[in-house]
């Protein structure tokens, strides 16, 4: 049975595109047929994160306007051949597409793929409404910050108003050493406030920036703790029960000390 999952947040810049790309990769590596849809019309980025920007011929708006067939617009990933990207149009804006058209497109895609992941733009306007139109469920991305959590709360309300099932939460850019010294909201604080189930925690980590530079999502990297975090989220999304959370270690002062003295390098959270 195939499923469409929208990745949304309200606030901009919290990691929706990074998460969409990496979950796409992780689910595809686990053998599923996956399409990631860039719904950020006018500000496309998912192509760049996946390193597929040079292969775009047609985009989502071309498909919706009947200028090409869906198959012509889908771009196959270079490294995992069950992953495809449907890029956003760069020279149009959100009003080029309606929620009904989006829903039809997603339904068409669900016939071809096990998972269709929609990378939602920031905000609560038309781009958001288009993105949730064809979705069966939603993942909410937040960071451990007041403004991001506030917007996440708003989005959770809108997702529920749209009669989607209860969304699940991804906490991104988590810094254990700041939590340890009481300067960052912990997982339990955030869950108490937002009151939705957690599906994963992604550490704030330079691997994300390095992989974005290269156009090769960190979920491909066997040795990266961030890659492992995404791979575990993918397993949870796929319904695998009891995928353990990796113990969180500080990457602050003491673990840096340990690293300098050759004690096992500290890793972040998953």
């Amino acid at each position: 049975m195939s499923e469409c999952i929208v990745i949304t947040s309200g606030k901009g810049g919290v990691g929706k595109t990074t998460t969409s790309a990496n979950l796409g990769v992780a689910l595809a590596l686990q053998g599923h047929r996956v399409a990631v849809v860039d719904a950020d019309i006018g500000l496309r980025n998912l192509d760049v994160i996946l390193g597929l920007e040079n292969r775009i011929v047609y985009d989502l708006v071309h498909v919706i306007e009947g200028e090409c067939r869906l198959k012509q617009a889908l771009i196959r990933d270079k490294k995992v051949d069950t992953l495809y990207l449907l890029p956003a149009a760069q020279t149009r804006d959100k009003s080029a597409v309606s929620p009904e058209q989006m829903k039809d497109l997603i339904n068409q895609m669900k016939e071809e793929f096990d998972y269709v992941l929609v990378d939602c733009p920031a905000g609560i306007e038309q781009g958001f409404r288009n993105s949730i139109a064809g979705a069966d469920r939603a993942l909410i991305v937040t960071t451990p910050e007041v403004s991001a959590i506030r917007d996440a709360d708003r989005i959770i309300g809108l997702v529920e108003a749209a009669e989607l099932p209860e969304p699940k939460l991804i906490i991104n850019r988590f810094r254990q050493h700041m939590v340890d010294r009481g300067d960052m909201l912990d997982k339990d604080d955030i869950l108490e406030i937002l009151a939705i189930p957690l599906v994963g925690i992604i550490p704030d980590h330079e691997d994300v920036i390095i992989s974005a530079n290269r156009g090769k999502p960190v979920a491909f990297d066997e040795d990266s703790v961030v890659g492992e975090a995404y791979r575990r989220i993918a397993r949870r999304i796929n319904g695998e029960p009891d995928v353990p959370f990796i113990a969180l270690e500080s990457s602050g002062f003491w673990s840096n000390m340990k690293r300098w003295f050759g004690v096992s390098a500290a890793k972040g959270a998953v």
Binding site: D153, R154, G157, R181, L185
Partner: protein
């Protein structure tokens, strides 16, 4: 906060973040202005005051949220239960 004052204070900024968020989310959801909250508080206190003698200076009156539900939480210290006329 300097390194040393942080070393010696056990309260990080996270407590501020949490308290502010809780208040923020309740008011995002309920959409009452601070003036309306004050007016409601004054009226409620007025009604309670007709039945019991209360300590008006130490009244706690706020909206709180746990999970998705909002509750009006109030703590009104009673000095003396009077049998005043209603």
């Amino acid at each position: 906060m300097s390194f040393f004052s942080r070393m010696f204070s056990n309260k990080g900024s996270k407590d501020d973040a949490k308290a502010r968020l809780k208040l923020l989310l309740v008011h995002d959801q309920v959409d009452l202005t601070p003036a309306q909250m004050e007016a409601m508080k004054a009226e409620v206190i007025e009604v309670i005051g007709r039945y019991v003698e209360i300590d008006r200076d130490s009244i706690d009156f706020k909206l709180e949220r746990s999970g998705g539900d909002v509750a009006l939480v109030s703590n009104v210290p009673v000095r003396r239960v009077t049998a005043r006329a209603v």
